[in-house]
């Protein structure tokens, strides 16, 4: 079969045994996150802690990874999640070139288990796999790990490494590859295993089953369907070449006269017409879009991204002012990574020179330390804890003596000595360099992760009431901190006076394209309730953010997945003062389901869920229709295992259902509907900029969604019939044994 190499690599760090096993067992789950769910289900018993040597960390790639299927450079890094108080399964998603390199080395995924006696790294050069000493690298950042491994393996090596955050068991830590690509949340699992890095050189071949010419035609076809990053199929500003004058709301931000200004010589992004396949990679001018005119374009060297991706979304910058701050003027990251460090500042004007400098300074620190901001929750919480002045009522509600009214939570919770360790005057002051000093001071405290007495911070010590540094309270993660500090739990639920739009959802995690995706409020809420971290799903926003008129979006969706009675999937702008979406309906339930299934498929095949699906296209000649079958066509052509879209969607449902079962089994919870599928209180209260959930309608939404998936409505658990239909009867047997069949 093409696409797969046929072997999965397993490294046991306790025994030092390196083995290669057949991929066949995992093919019903494709690869990536699907393969990883299967590994966790089969091998890691309920009750295992994320940092237990028995936990696995699976670097999952799939049959398409490393092939010429566009957008196939991604890796799903799945494990029991250390951010989550209950160690439930979750995935961090990493792009770059590391995943394809693993395939070229000959492996369909990498499973790591056990714990090394001392720090190690894994050397993979095609057939040669070795566990090597990482004593010299340990204690250093990700940059040093990359440099050392490239020195050993050669400059073409691709390295996935953790920084000091992962080593020091900061729960919000990541593993990063190729400088700017991070899998959030899982760094400390590597740290707990004494694993610093994995270096790979792969020189082998991946077979494509289709004939050369058929494959070439298919890849060309997919290129014609693609728009821009985040699914945009029309430009963001009015372009004379756009035949219907459609524009707006997309990341297709290139235009005549807009340059990658820091390229040498500068590169004009230009017209980027829909049919010009040699400018796809110029369409998404994210530097300009994110950092603003006159700033972002000036400092953009180019837009980087993953292997095999024509779209590009990582902003490579040149900010000479960084040299005064002691870091390289050249930085690269995207989206939330660009505010990880600068999130610890206030009072910097957005879209200013200082803004990009602060952003890229933060990148330089965070991407070396390997810190993950929990999609911005850490900084949002930090700002609230640092700035919000508690009232007497809030104190009482949180069980704090009301004499502490007038203090901020940090002033109340930290010891005076610990509080004084941070240069707060620089935080509130107006001096820019001072603000950067503050960022650095916080970042160092986070990566060191210490109790006030200087010993390594642990959750147990915190629970026992021992004082910790501010950095350690960030490092422990929001899900635990809110248990320790009830005022934070209340704030998470009520979301009052947050000096940031970023909100907590539930069970230790933040939202991601939640009810602020106001055109698909119910689907967005369903996505946010399902996973054990922020859902990292973009299927919904990529489709509804494609820039086409609403009526056309609904028309295309109905053509592909309908027809539906009872209303459309996508809503028009919601009206003040209630911001209520139209009631839940069948189209919305199917839309939500497809968003889940395609995300699971993308994370398993692997393809990029930050740009796909391709349900719409930029082509007027196709009346903007895209292709529901893209994933199935790619999969079938590469592997030779012919599948229709519907069949592949069932595979997606198999993966999602296995994940659901595994989550329920680890929680030992039959009432998933009420114990796992929670919503924060604030989601039911109207505020501008977001849709509002209605309690009764939300219950209908869950009913309809469970039903779509073949899950029981009362419990939210998959039924025996669904397990059987999806080839998961063995899973059903285990669930029955645990009393978890509905």
């Amino acid at each position: 079969m093409g696409g797969w190499t046929g072997k999965v690599l397993r490294v046991d760090l306790t025994t030092g045994v390196i083995s290669k096993e057949s991929t066949d067992k995992y093919k019903p789950y494709l690869g990536g996150t699907g393969l990883a769910y299967k590994v966790l289900w089969d091998e890691v018993p309920p009750g295992t802690d994320a940092w237990d040597p028995a936990n696995r960390i699976i670097f999952g790639v799939g049959p398409l990874t490393g092939t010429g299927a566009p957008l196939s450079g991604r890796v799903s890094v799945t494990s029991l999640w250390p951010m989550h108080p209950e160690s439930l399964p979750a995935t961090g998603h990493m792009g770059g070139h590391w995943g394809p390199e693993l395939k070229y080395a000959g492996y369909d995924s990498l499973i790591i288990q056990g714990k090394a006696a001392s720090p190690v790294w894994i050397y993979i050069k095609d057939d040669v796999v070795e566990i090597r000493d990482a004593g010299k690298m340990w204690g250093n950042g990700i940059y040093r790990a990359n440099a050392e491994i490239m020195n050993i393996m050669g400059p073409e090596a691709h390295v996935a490494a953790i920084g000091q955050c992962g080593e020091n068991l900061v729960r919000g830590s990541n593993v990063m590859c190729d400088r700017s690509h991070s899998a959030g949340g899982v760094g400390s699992v590597m740290g707990s295993k004494n694993l610093k890095a994995i270096g790979i050189i792969g020189t082998g071949a991946l077979k494509v089953e289709a004939s050369k010419s058929a494959w070439k035609d298919l890849v060309h076809y997919q290129h014609t369907i693609l728009g821009a990053n985040s699914g945009g199929v029309v430009p963001n500003t009015l372009q004379s070449w756009q035949p219907d004058g459609y524009y707006g709301g997309t990341r297709w931000t290139a235009a005549k006269g807009l340059f990658w200004g820091a390229a040498s010589p500068p590169v004009e992004t230009g017209d980027c017409t829909a049919d010009d396949l040699n400018s796809i990679g110029l369409r998404t001018f994210k530097g300009y879009a994110d950092f603003g005119p006159g700033v972002g374009d000036k400092h953009t060297v180019k837009i980087q991204g993953c292997h095999g991706c024509p779209i590009r979304c990582h902003i490579a910058t040149d900010v000479p002012a960084l040299e005064q701050l002691g870091v390289s003027r050249y930085q690269v990251n995207t989206c939330n990574g660009n505010s990880s460090g600068s999130g610890f500042t206030i009072g910097i004007t957005s879209r200013s020179e200082n803004n990009i400098t602060a952003s890229q300074y933060g990148v330089a620190l965070c991407d070396d330390f390997g810190w993950w901001s929990d999609y911005g929750l850490a900084q949002a919480d930090f700002k609230w804890l640092a700035q919000h002045v508690l009232t007497a009522e809030e104190c009482t509600a949180a069980g704090i003596d009301p004499v502490n009214a007038g203090k901020t939570p940090y002033q109340y919770r930290l010891t005076a000595a610990e509080y004084a360790k941070l240069p707060w005057a620089k935080f509130t002051g107006s001096d820019f360099v001072g603000k950067m000093d503050f960022v650095k001071a916080v970042m160092i405290q986070i990566k060191d992760n210490r109790m006030a007495d200087g010993t390594p911070a642990t959750w147990e010590k915190m629970q026992a009431g021992q004082p910790a540094t501010l950095g350690a309270y960030i490092a422990v993660g929001a899900g635990r901190l809110e248990k320790l500090w009830p005022e934070l739990a209340i704030q998470h639920q009520e979301n009052k006076a947050t000096p940031s739009a970023i909100n907590y959802v539930k069970m230790g995690h933040i939202k991601h394209h939640f009810t602020e995706s106001s055109d698909t409020v119910q689907a967005a809420a369903l996505l946010n309730m399902m996973y054990n971290r922020d859902p990292m799903c973009h299927t919904h926003t990529n489709y509804t953010g494609n820039g086409l008129p609403l009526a056309l979006q609904n028309e295309i969706f109905n053509e592909l997945f309908g027809p539906f009675e009872g209303g459309n999937a996508i809503d028009a702008e919601l009206a003040a003062p209630d911001f209520l979406p139209t009631p839940m309906n069948k189209a919305k339930a199917v839309f939500a389901k497809m968003c889940f299934l395609y995300m699971e498929l993308h994370n398993s095949l692997t393809l990029c869920n930050y740009t796909l699906p391709g349900w719409a296209s930029p082509l007027k000649s196709r009346n903007y229709r895209g292709e529901r079958n893209l994933e199935a066509m790619m999969y079938s052509a590469v592997t030779g295992d012919a599948k229709t879209a519907q069949q592949l969607e069932d595979t997606g449902l198999r993966i999602l259902t296995l994940f659901r079962a595994d989550t329920a089994r680890r929680m030992n919870e039959k009432d998933m509907r009420n114990k796992h599928d929670l919503m924060p209180e604030y989601a039911f209260h109207a505020h501008s900029g977001a849709g509002t959930l209605d309690h009764a309608d939300w219950e209908v939404a869950k009913d309809m969604f469970y039903e779509e998936c073949g899950w029981d409505k009362t419990t939210g658990l998959p039924t025996q019939a669904t397990y059987d239909r999806l080839g998961l009867s063995d899973v059903a047997a285990v669930m029955a044994g645990a009393g978890l069949l509905p």
Binding site: G66, T67, G68, P70, H97, Y104, Y143, N146, A147, M150, N151, G154, P155, E156, A157, H158, D178, R179, S180, G202, T203, G204, A205, L206, K207, V208, S211, K212, W215, K216, V219, H223, A263, S264, P265, V267, L277, N278, S279, I280, G281, L282, V301, K302, I303, Q304, G305, C306, H307, G308, C309, P310, I311, R312, A316, D318, S328, Y330, V332
Partner: protein, 265 residues
């Protein structure tokens, strides 16, 4: 020996008669492919040359029934030029190259090479990390392309099997898989390391890969999503690019062409 700018002196060497060739005639030869036999005939060096040829020649080339090997070759009609400032490092060019030419996804044999410069540029990790090019430096990503060298073409003339041929109409220097024996000498002979082997050295089915310009419509350029690769009329850029590797002293002109070269140089 006269300077090449004025004329080349050809002849059988010591004891034989020398002959000067007009510059116009040289130009004419540059624009066509000349086999060793034709070359010797035109230059009047058939007798000795041919004798030497048959004595030293190796492999299939030594038989009269096999087409005589090319020595003095026409310039290419076109070439790829790459713009590092545009390159976003997606490596779709490498994928197009190996998938559409070889039917497998295998960047290590792609005839355009981006991956090896991706991290730190053409430098090594010690000198390039954080200081040079690539994602760990100034974000400049250098795409290495075959220069379709003019005569003397290093890869072509080093190949002991005469397997690198010049194929009209674009006159790219192309590996003839039927003749290639996978010895890997060309991978050492190219100063820019632009040829690769698709298997182990001397492996039973190992063949070399190098840029063929896809008959004048290079797949990599068609695929590049930022227009960083262009197919343009050929010009000699070999002096503009610092060599990537030192050609080992052991790599010399193939035995069956060396003697011919001596006649001019």
């Amino acid at each position: 020996m006269a300077g090449i700018k004025k004329a080349i002196v050809v002849g059988p060497g010591a004891g034989g008669t020398s002959k000067e060739m007009e510059i116009g005639k040289v130009a004419e030869y540059i624009h066509k492919i000349v086999t060793r036999r034709e070359f010797l005939q035109v230059t009047g060096a058939v007798g000795l040359g041919a004798a030497t040829f048959y004595l030293i020649g190796c492999g299939g080339s030594s038989s009269e029934s096999v087409a005589p090997r090319q020595v003095f070759v026409a310039n290419a009609q076109g070439m790829l030029v790459a713009e590092p400032s545009r390159c976003v490092g997606c490596r779709r060019c490498e994928l197009a190259c190996s998938e559409y030419n070889d039917g497998v996804s295998k960047p290590s044999i792609a005839r355009i090479k981006v991956g090896r410069n991706f991290n730190v540029g053409p430098q090594d990790a010690t000198t390039g990390f954080g200081r040079g090019e690539g994602i760990w430096g100034n974000h400049r990503i250098v795409q290495d392309v075959c220069h379709q060298c003019p005569h003397p073409v290093p890869c072509q003339l080093a190949c002991p099997n005469g397997a690198i041929e010049v194929v009209p109409p674009v006159n790219a220097r192309v590996v003839n898989a039927a003749k290639c024996r996978g010895c890997g000498i060309c991978t050492k002979a190219c100063p820019w390391a632009m040829t690769s082997l698709n298997g182990p050295v001397d492996g039973a089915s190992t063949k070399a890969t190098k840029c063929s310009l896809c008959n004048g419509d290079p797949e990599c350029a068609r695929m590049c999503p930022v227009g960083a690769l262009k197919y343009v009329p050929w010009q000699n850029v070999t002096k503009d690019f610092p060599p990537r590797q030192v050609v080992p002293a052991s790599i010399q002109l193939a035995a069956d062409v060396k003697d011919t070269c001596d006649k001019c140089h």
